[in-house]
Structure formats: structure tokens, C-alpha cells
Amino acid sequence: MDLYLPIAELPLNLFLILGMGGAVGFLSGLFGVGGGFLLTPLLIFSGISPAVAVATGASQIVASSASGTFTYVRRSAVDFKLGSFLLVSGIAGSTLGIALFTALQRAGQLDLVIALSYFGFLGTIGILTVTEAIRSLWALRAGARPLRRPGGHNWVQGLPLKVRFRRSRLYVSALPVLGLGLGIGFLGSVLGIGGGIIMIPALIYLLRVPTTIVIGTTLMMTFGTMAFATVMHAATSRSVDIVLGLALMVGGVVGAQLGARVGQKLRGEVLRLLLGLLVLAIAARFAVDLVATPDEPFSIAVSRRL
């Protein structure tokens, strides 16, 4: 059954859309990430233009992170102060990102930058996540409990402008927090990802935020930043397709609930290993696309109709 998408201006099979949303939602519930890094490429491969894919993907992330945020807020597992620092810098980063996005589109290099960025960042995150997970699993096997020291010391502790984040039991410089939010917001609006995939490891390893707080706080920041990015994309490139977005959301939230249920049955280290492997697989796919000889070296880009 085909559904005509008014902004993307083409029809897509409705079950395909629901399936994509469901698969991405499942992964998001399983790993606690937004899933945008998988959704945007999937939409592009289905024939939707990158602008519409990124903008509509952002709206779908709003839905899935909203669902999770409410749950975590109810359980008081959110650090609002930390979340709002991240949110404000995230919005600033988002604005810069959308400006860059528009400029790249006009120069015809948007696809290349998206591919290189996905490859670079996901490759790095994937390698870091997999090695950490393997190390934890190895330690567990040897009988030692993996140590998580919230508030422990690393190079980040040496930075000035410290702020106390009571809920996370942290006393850390505001600079890395704001920098992280800025970077994630920027990346998110250019690539159409919520940034949880980068934020969660960064919060855990760099800032030593306790694991119980990390997911809820990340979701809160993701929700706010992506809501802002959706409105900005709608205002600048008019490329948010509400019909596509709603269909993706319905599949997504159902998938997310299933994923969360399955996720509770698996050990944290195993989940992180699986996530790292998935991220590496996507990075590899982009690498292949960049390097392999294309079937069709020519492409057409249409400026808005006269």
C-alpha cells in the first residue's frame, strides 16, 4: 500500500516506512540511543533526498526521545542542570550546523561531507565502544567487577570554571560540558542524528557521570536539541515531511518499547559490544561507498523550481 509523501514528493510503501521506523525504534530502545544514525541513511537509500531525510529524521528522534524522557523523569533519573547546560549549547551548535548544511547543499558537497563525517565519527566511536566492552567482559570473566568511579579524576578535572552538578555528584568545569553540547548539536543537525551515540560514551568516560543518570539526561538533551533542529529545518529548507515523520514515529515508538524490554534482559557490557559492532558496520558501509567505483559518476541536483 503506497503512501504519497507531500514534501518528499514521491510515494513510498507504507509498510516499508513502518518497518524502518520499527527497526530503528527497536535499536533505540535496546541501546538507549536515538537511532538517527541508522534512520537517516535508511531514508536516503529509499530514494528520499538527503535534506528531507535529515529534517524528517530529526522529528522522529523527537518522538522516540520524548517517550524515553518522560519515563526517566518519572523515575527521577534525570540531572536537569546538566541537561540544560547541554541543551543550551546544543541549540547553539544546531544553529551553526544548519548554516553549514545549507551552504554545503548549495556547493553540491553535502553527500560527501555526510559520508566522511559518518565514517570518521562512527568509526571512532565504534572502535572505542567495542574495545571498552571487550575489556569489561574480559574483566568480568576474570572475576573482577568493572569499576565505575563517578567523580574520579582525569584530565578534564584540570579545566577552569567549575560548576556543581548535584544530581550527578559532579564538580566539573562547565567548558567540556558546553563544548560537548555544542559539538553534538552541530553534528546532529548536519547528519540528522540525535547524538546519543556519541554523548553517552563521552558523558560516561570523559565526565564520569553515573550510568543511572546518563541515559535520562542524554534523552532530555536529545529531545530539546532535535525539537529545535526540526523547527529550524522546517523554517530554512522546508524539508520536514510530517506524513513521513508520523508514519516513522508510530513504527518507532512501538519498536522502542519492544527494544527496551529486550534490552533489560541483556547485560550492559554485551549491549555495548553489540552497539559498537553495529556502529562499526555502518562506518564500514560509508567507507565502501566513498572508495568503490560508483556505477554512475554523474548526478543531478535540482535547485528549487522556477
Binding site: 500500500m1 503506497d2 503512501l3 504519497y4 507531500p6 514534501i7 514528493e9 514521491l10 510515494p11 522529528s59 522522529q60 523527537v62 518522538a63 522516540s64 526521545s65 520524548a66 517517550s67 524515553g68 524522557t69 518522560f70 519515563t71 553540491g108 558537497q109 560527501l112 566522511l116 529531545f223 525539537a227 526540526t230 523547527v231 529550524m232 529545518h233 522546517a234 523554517a235 530554512t236 522546508r238 520536514v240 510530517i242 506524513v243 515523520g245 508520523l246 514515529m249 508510530v250 515508538v253 512501538v254 522502542a256 518499547q257 566513498l290 572508495v291 567505483t293 560508483p294 554512475e296 559518476p297 554523474f298 548526478s299 543531478i300 541536483a301 535540482v302 535547485s303 523550481r305 522556477l306
Partner: protein, 251 residues
């Protein structure tokens, strides 16, 4: 039924001159709704001769062009640079049709000479798509050739020399397809009658392609009230997320 009535009326009221051409379309408006997957338009026509018409040397030939709204397209080519494929060269094509179809009942080169075909834009090889469409013809650049090839692959540029069929020596029928990813706007359909390479008569029609109903409301909202539209998208997304959390809540 309506077609038959129109034919009869046209037979009754026509000026005494050389051949005349009467044509009608199966639809002059394409409405895009939520289950749109493309459309087909049929053209019916009749040619009439009267006592004063000169005897023609060759058989009658009918050819038609369908030209969609203009757009600006940039064709780019990827080249291998430092091991990866990057868009390097490109050519901007201004005011090219976003949809083009050339239909006839015989090979285009048989129907008319190149100069005449160029002035009528009859045929992909004479379609003016260079950077300055009104300039003198020049050999196609690789970008222009690639543009035509890519548009043909998407079924947006079509050339069919068997699309027109004569049902009787005076009555013909033609058909062309509009794909699902077609641009919105006004399409110009021109039907020509030839004989022995000479243009005898032409008719013009307009086809409007537009979204209606829900799709139209959405597109106009996105275009005219973008911030409100964006906020609505965010509101709906938050609502869906919240409802899902409530529905699936276990505690």
C-alpha cells in the same frame, strides 16, 4: 461519450482551409492524492481534409511534445581524488524542462528535418538544454548528455516513436505516462501534423498537475508558515512519544 460528442461537434464546425487537426485529452488535470503512484494521459485526435486541400506527397505523421515546468539543474561528475570519489566538475543547466516527452508514430528523423524539429523541440537530440537555451546549437557537453540520460532513467525524459497510433487514416490515439515523482505545475502539450517533412497544423493543450486536499494543505503550510509547521511537527512528535509511554507503561 463526451469524446464522441466533441468529435461530432468538431466535424460540424470547421473553417474551409488546408488540413485541420482536432485533439482532445483524457484528462487536463492530474490530482495528486495520498495514493498517487503516477498517471497516464491519452490523446485522441482527428485530421480532416476538405475539397480545397492539396494532395500530399507523403503519409500523414503526427508527433507531440509534452513539456513540464522549467527548473534549474546542476549536473556534477565524481572523480577519484586522493582515493575517494568527490564531485569535481559540473554544469548548471538553466530553464530546462522538469519533464519532457516526445511522441510520434514514426522515427523523428523521418518526420521532419533537424532545423524544423529544433524549432519545435521535437526529440531529445534537439532539446535545448545548454546553459544558454536560446543560443545557437552546439555539440552536447558530457554533463548535458549525462543529464538527459539520468532524466530518461527516471522516466522524466521520454522519447517514444511508437506512442502514436492511427486507428483509421483520419483518427489517431497517443498515450504517455506521468511518473510518481513528477513535478507540480503546468505542462504544455503540443500536437503537430506533418506530411512529407512539412508542418501542416498544430494544437496546444495545458495539463495542470497539482496536489489536492490534504497533500495541498501540508505543502502550503510547510511553505507559507514554516515555523508553525515545524512547531506542529514537534508537538505531534512529543504527543506520539508521550502516548506511547503511557500505553506501554508497565508500572
Amino acid at each position: 461519450m463526451r469524446l464522441v460528442v466533441l468529435f461530432l461537434l468538431s466535424l460540424a464546425a470547421s473553417p474551409a482551409a488546408a488540413e485541420s487537426l482536432v485533439t482532445v485529452l483524457s484528462a487536463e488535470e492530474i490530482r495528486i492524492t495520498s495514493n498517487f503512484t503516477g498517471a497516464e494521459i491519452a490523446i485522441f485526435g482527428t485530421l480532416r481534409r476538405d475539397a480545397q486541400t492539396v494532395a500530399r506527397s507523403g503519409p500523414y505523421r503526427v508527433a507531440a511534445t509534452v513539456i513540464g515546468p522549467p527548473m534549474t539543474a546542476t549536473t556534477r561528475e565524481r572523480e577519484r581524488t586522493f582515493g575517494i570519489w568527490i564531485n569535481r566538475g559540473g554544469e548548471r543547466l538553466r530553464r530546462v524542462p522538469s519533464f519532457y516527452a516526445a511522441l510520434s508514430d514514426a522515427a523523428f528523423t523521418e518526420i521532419a528535418g533537424e532545423a524544423l524539429r529544433r524549432s519545435l523541440k521535437l526529440g531529445l537530440d534537439v532539446l535545448p538544454i545548454g546553459p544558454w537555451p536560446d543560443a545557437a546549437p552546439a555539440p552536447r557537453s558530457p554533463y548535458e548528455a549525462a543529464f538527459i540520460r539520468l532524466m530518461s532513467e527516471r522516466a522524466l525524459y521520454v522519447e517514444d516513436a511508437a506512442a502514436v497510433e492511427f486507428l483509421t487514416p483520419e483518427v489517431f490515439r497517443a498515450e504517455f505516462a506521468i511518473p510518481a515523482n513528477v513535478p507540480i505545475g503546468t505542462y504544455r502539450l503540443t500536437i503537430h501534423l506533418f506530411s512529407g517533412g512539412v508542418l501542416l497544423a498544430s494544437n496546444e493543450h495545458e495539463i495542470r498537475v497539482g496536489k489536492v486536499g490534504f497533500e495541498e494543505i501540508i505543502t502550503e503550510a510547510a511553505r507559507d508558515n514554516p515555523i508553525a509547521y515545524g512547531l506542529l511537527a514537534v508537538f505531534l512528535a512529543t504527543l506520539v512519544g508521550w502516548v506511547a509511554g503511557v500505553v506501554f507503561r508497565r508500572d
